[in-house]
């Protein structure tokens, strides 16, 4: 694994516009960064990253029924009690999950370690599935990388496959996100695109536009009943809002399904460590109020159970200091995870976002940051698989 500098394609912004990738920069600062890329060997991808992702997904699937059988754990994970049956029912009905993103620490030398699992509303999808794929095609044509350079990225195909498994021919599949978030809107458009390619009929609406009729069903702006809903909106917010209690009896099939809430909060990290201590792909982790947290000897990442994009994460005990990211989260409690600082490649710190789609390790997207906490200031860098020295 290595990081190399590479010339930008002179027309990359034009390419982005053509492909509908319009959120690549904020206030002049570019989120998409192709001045460098990461290179992996096929062995690193297959034996390390892909294998670890498959393994972790399996541990998570095994953990779900164990959590459901343990009320104390459900409480520790701050799952609202009125939703316990909804979640159990969705698991027992085998409601399918479409996707999730495992954030891994990987340095090319040691086994990948799970930082957290973005199981409900993972971000960075379009750039990983589409834009970095096009980058590789162009870069191979230009000749900056060998013509047989590859990429770990079948995300697009797997998304279409996933929708084919979840959707029903002839039934309308609704797609929703919150207003005011351009990136979310673009991500949802992309997913709608994939669903249409799986021969599904789709319709978009904002979360605020969802209505609830007298019979307790969710309806769209035209009063059509919402039978299938892809939501780019976290479960914990849905359940806490006014219509939350209507969800269990609505009959709507959600993507991601309700049982994903058990995996999408960081309490999962403590649960996994308790179930599978010393697993090579896990870091030690405990709930903040667990006496065993003392085993971390004062060196840990303190993470809010329901946090996003690194907000409110503190790295404690790193070189005798504390690094902290600001944010609004924390009221639901914290987990402590053993400190495993991101590896350093040219003074940048990459996190591997490993996508699990339609039941497969589907590909990776890499984000890097100068800082040791990956926040929404991180940049997305493309990668390639190159096995020959070049």
């Amino acid at each position: 694994m290595r990081r190399i500098s590479l010339p930008e394609r002179p027309n990359w912004r034009l390419r982005a516009a053509e492909l509908g990738f319009n959120f690549h920069s904020t206030e002049g600062v570019s989120y998409w960064d192709e001045t460098a890329c990461y290179i992996f060997s096929l062995k690193e991808i297959e034996n390390d990253i892909e294998a670890a992702t498959e393994e972790l997904a399996g541990l998570c699937y095994e953990a779900v029924p164990k959590i459901l059988a343990n009320e104390e754990l459900l409480q520790k994970l701050r799952i609202p009690e009125f939703a316990w049956d909804l979640i159990a029912h969705s698991w027992q009905s085998q409601d399918k999950d479409l996707y999730g993103r495992f954030d891994l620490r990987y340095d090319g030398a040691t086994p990948p370690k799970l930082y957290e699992y973005n199981a409900d509303t993972p971000t960075g999808l379009y750039e990983a599935a589409v834009f970095q794929w096009h980058w590789l095609e162009d870069i191979r044509t230009i000749g900056h990388l060998p013509s047989d350079a590859d990429q770990f990225n079948a995300i697009h195909e797997r998304l279409i496959e996933g929708f084919g498994l979840i959707g029903q021919q002839g039934a309308l599949f609704h797609f929703a996100c919150s207003t005011g978030h351009e990136e979310d809107r673009a991500t949802v458009s992309y997913l709608e695109d994939c669903a249409q390619q799986a021969s599904l009929d789709t319709a978009f609406l904002f979360m605020e536009e969802i209505g609830l009729d007298d019979d307790g069903r969710f309806v769209d702006k035209n009063n059509r009943v919402i039978t299938h809903l892809f939501k780019l909106y976290p479960w914990e917010w849905l359940l806490a809002e006014k219509f939350g209690t209507a969800i269990p009896t609505s009959g709507t099939c959600f993507v991601e399904p309700p049982w994903k809430l058990l995996l999408s909060n960081k309490g999962l990290l403590a649960v996994l460590w308790a179930l599978y201590p010393n697993h090579p792909n896990l870091l030690p982790a405990y709930f903040e109020d667990d006496p065993k947290a003392a085993e971390l000897s004062g060196r840990y990442a303190r993470k809010p159970i329901y946090g996003r994009e690194g907000a409110n994460v503190q790295l404690i005990g790193l070189n005798e200091s504390t690094i902290e990211a600001s944010g609004p989260y924390g009221s639901e409690g914290y987990v402590h995870q053993a400190l495993a600082p991101l590896p350093n490649f040219s003074n940048q710190h990459p996190v591997i976002g490993s996508w699990w789609v339609a039941g497969y390790p589907a590909g990776i997207g890499i984000r890097e940051e100068n800082s040791l906490i990956t926040t929404n200031g991180a940049r997305f860098l493309p990668h390639a698989i190159v096995d020959k020295e070049n």
């Binding site: 919150s178 009063n223 009943v225 219509f243 009896t249 929404n376």
Partner: protein, 197 residues
């Protein structure tokens, strides 16, 4: 190879896909009853009967569905509606549902099939059949024959031309006829946070 062979986008981006066969016009024959088909003489006995059987099968899946009989009859006329069996798309039959009842405590309502159309498929001697519906005379619709998706086909029996896309099964979402009580019950948290993901 560890990456997708190809990436095609239909919604995103500026490269629009041309819809190929969907909008092509094809000839179709419209009948209100199987006897009209038999009397027409151009189709064999079995072709006529197979077609109406197929149309009736699709009718059960595709017909417009209403939660209230009154709303169905407003659109299609008094006495022109029947009870509908639950379709796979209704929330009632999803694994996740609890008891789903409407005001009448029963199932859903749909208009009777008013006729059907037959059109030759790409293979010789193979015909597709679609159910047709005739709305009650009203301000917005001529009381002609329409597909379940709302494509106008003809005013009555006879030969006509339809778009190829009208021959394929449309999605027919359930229309909730009860007035919606509430909106805005989701989304409040999203507005106060910088990111939902």
């Amino acid at each position: 190879m560890k990456r997708s062979r190809n990436i095609r986008l239909v919604l995103m981006g500026t490269v629009a896909l041309t819809l190929s066969a969907c909008d092509e016009q094809v000839p179709a024959d419209v009948f209100e009853t199987v006897n009209q088909c038999l009397a027409d003489g151009r189709y064999s006995d079995s072709q006529c009967r197979d077609a109406i059987t197929e149309a009736e099968r699709k009718h059960l899946q595709q017909a417009p569905r209403y939660t209230a009989l009154q709303d169905c009859e407003t659109d299609y006329g008094t006495g022109k509606c029947q009870t509908a069996p639950p379709a796979p798309t209704d929330p009632q039959s999803s694994a996740q549902s609890n008891t789903q009842t409407n005001n009448q405590g029963g199932s859903f309502f749909m208009p009777f099939m008013a006729g059907y159309m037959m059109s030759q498929l790409l293979q010789p001697n193979r015909y597709a059949a679609q159910p047709l519906y005739r709305p009650a005379p009203g301000a917005t619709n001529r009381p002609d024959l329409y597909t379940a998706a709302g494509n106008r086909v003809a005013s009555g029996p006879g030969s006509t031309q339809v778009s190829r896309s009208a021959l394929t099964a449309p999605s027919r979402p359930l229309v909730a006829s009860r007035p919606v009580v509430n909106r805005g019950g989701f989304g409040a948290t999203g507005r106060s946070y910088s990111s939902a993901t």
